[in-house]
Symmetry: C2
Subunit: 394 residues, 2 copies
């Protein structure tokens, strides 16, 4: 029996990372491969209280169909928070999604014809590429340095390629952990407006800042009306509840809402209402400080162990927030080949190669996640990995 | 500022019914327009207990990322229940979605190229058309009678049109409330296999049977390997939790899973686990009997009032389950024009016209929902509507 699928299925693929994660999920393996929050950062008791309150006081509403745009009080809460970050927005500029990946899917759906070009950093967050590939997009890689996307190169490539979208992960970028400085943010918004190309500003990690002052979002700069800002509660409350959002022009919000009606009707009502209750009765800033205090220790532990145990030829930089450290092994090293040896030594990472969407992969790179392992696991895991690297890289 | 959207956006449209629902949601209007369950059928206390148990005993897991295929114990529960209905399936044949609309979206995504044809009943469930239109499908209407889709016409039209999918809502069909008899079910499965065309068997209402023995699903007949059966917990537990499923060949399940990875990663973990807990600790059969006992009274009340108050020239049939009664006004009557007059009289319905996807609409038809109004509201509302119909139709 052979099914005849749509042409777009050829471009869809099971996430390389998800396949790698399966390999790394063996017992006793200390895994730096995923991108999950630490479960001890979940406000379990507070969410239980919020869910109880909602089901006791508003049970019928929380279990009934809701509107596709999202739960109005939560849209209002998000609009106010986004205003606080400098974005010019009202509740009607907010679209609530089942996690921010869904905004990537729907943005692809409403903007991309087959063959349309999307500008991406190189390397780039893989699941964004996966979302857009399902609409048969093509990708144009923009080089990135220690400060994220090279905006001079971006301007040239936008002029040459006539892209439909620009995708950028400006703060504690996945996979490299870089943060785009304010001047470059201004430049991206200016390029978007000049060439009339919407920019997707994907900001899942922006709240996870360990030091330094926060930077204004791309959407707060002149030209920001061309920016679709997106974020979620996944990294600051819980990913399992699947609640994210977009901030955009109302015309784009209407199109996203139509896509949502046709796809999953609306986001889980109970989750939206419970999160709104949680936000109304808890100190989110204090909760985020608790998370960043935990992750800062994880990062510092990992960096200190890497300094001690990794061969001198390995290079990395210290991210000021987020969840990841990006490592360059010496030229010629093959991180993908190293992975199976690492798993045999009971430690795992993600090779960097799958993060290259549109140009030759740097096979000597790998990504380490520090959010989801304890300091003790980090110490043991990095020692194991360091020993392997010294053996293999000589 | 003008955004350049994808070509497919032209075919996407805000659901006509959702727009109508906005008009009908005025205070004091008794609305038979929507398709919502009665909120007093939601097992609020039992779900609160289930959610509490999950957050107390498995909080970290319920708030963490989950797998795209769905929560394994819930897949196993669904597989067993689907086996009980005669389907040959294992847990790996089950895909869990954020409500069954999402299966329509993903099925369209993995099967439909622009211009591909989908066979539909006429009239047809509007949101299915909306899901497939986003992939630029074309529709071929298959006539239906009092027993649902005419399978002789289906065979001829499949042979002529070379469609990519057949969409059918065989039990207590939305909008007309018809149920396809066993012989026609066998015939549809046979046509699917003979022409190698997947059939989407959309079954949201099958459990809401008020009388008579249940019929075997299309997927249980020879040729059933070509059937994608889909259903959800929306009508039997809660629509707000957004949990549905598909039963299909494992190759299709893999493709649906890839679509899910790229779209919303996975369905809300807490909702899946709480529903599984609810199912493990409650008597679902008794709960469904409670719902059907309530809805049977609603239906019988509505039918009795229609008999008394509607003009003799109006025609309808008694559905054996589900949520809807389909009414044909005399030829020449315009149900869309009647709606604004009805709303002025504080009663609402959905005109039948939007349910015609691929042929001239029968403007004299309308759909009445009986699930979401109390018997008292039904009595008052049908009297109002009857008075209007007698005035307008003479």
């Amino acid at each position: 029996m052979k099914f005849h699928y749509a042409d777009r299925v050829a471009g869809m693929q099971s996430s390389a990372i998800r396949e790698i994660l399966k390999i790394t999920q063996q017992p006793d393996v200390i895994s730096f491969a995923g991108g999950m929050p630490a479960p001890d950062t979940f406000p379990v008791a507070e969410l239980r209280e919020a869910v109880n309150y909602i089901l006791t006081e508003h049970g019928a509403e929380a279990l009934q169909y809701g509107v596709s745009e999202g739960y109005a009080p939560l849209r209002a809460w998000i609009a106010e928070r986004m205003q606080g970050k400098g974005m010019d927005c009202k509740p009607e500029n907010i679209f609530i999604s089942a996690g921010s990946q869904q905004v990537l899917d729907f943005t692809g759906k409403i903007f991309l014809n087959p063959g349309d070009k999307v500008m991406v950093e190189s390397p780039v967050y893989l699941a964004a590429v996966q979302a857009f590939r399902a609409y048969q997009a093509e990708f144009v890689a923009v080089p990135a340095d220690n400060q994220g996307m090279d905006t001079t190169a971006l301007a040239e490539k936008v002029a040459a390629a006539n892209p439909k979208l620009i995708y950028i992960n400006p703060t504690f970028e996945n996979p490299r952990g870089t943060t785009l400085p304010a001047e470059r943010r201004a430049k991206v918004a200016q390029i978007a407006a000049a060439y009339q190309v919407p920019v997707i500003e994907d900001d899942p990690y922006g709240e996870l800042r360990f030091e330094g002052p926060p930077l204004p979002p791309l959407k707060s700069f002149p030209g920001g009306e061309w920016v679709i800002h997106m974020s979620s509660f996944s990294k600051i409350i819980s990913p399992g509840l699947r609640v994210g959002w977009a901030v955009a022009d109302t015309d784009i919000i209407r199109k996203l809402t139509m896509a949502k009606q046709a796809s999953d009707v609306h986001t889980n009502s109970l989750a939206q209402q419970a999160i709104h209750r949680y936000l109304s009765t808890n100190d989110l800033a204090a909760h985020i400080r608790r998370i960043t205090d935990i992750y800062r220790v994880h990062r510092d532990t990992m960096l200190a162990e890497m300094e001690t145990h990794f061969p001198a030829a390995c290079k990395w930089r210290k991210p000021a927030g987020g969840m990841f450290i990006w490592v360059a092994l010496p030229p010629g090293a093959d991180a993908t080949a190293l992975l199976s040896k690492a798993v045999a030594e009971k430690v795992a990472f993600v090779p960097g190669a799958p993060f290259y969407a549109a140009e030759r992969a740097a096979e000597n790179t790998l990504r380490l996640n520090f959010s989801n392992s304890s300091p003790d696991q980090i110490r043991i895991g990095i020692r194991r990995l360091g020993m392997l690297l010294r053996q293999e890289l000589g």
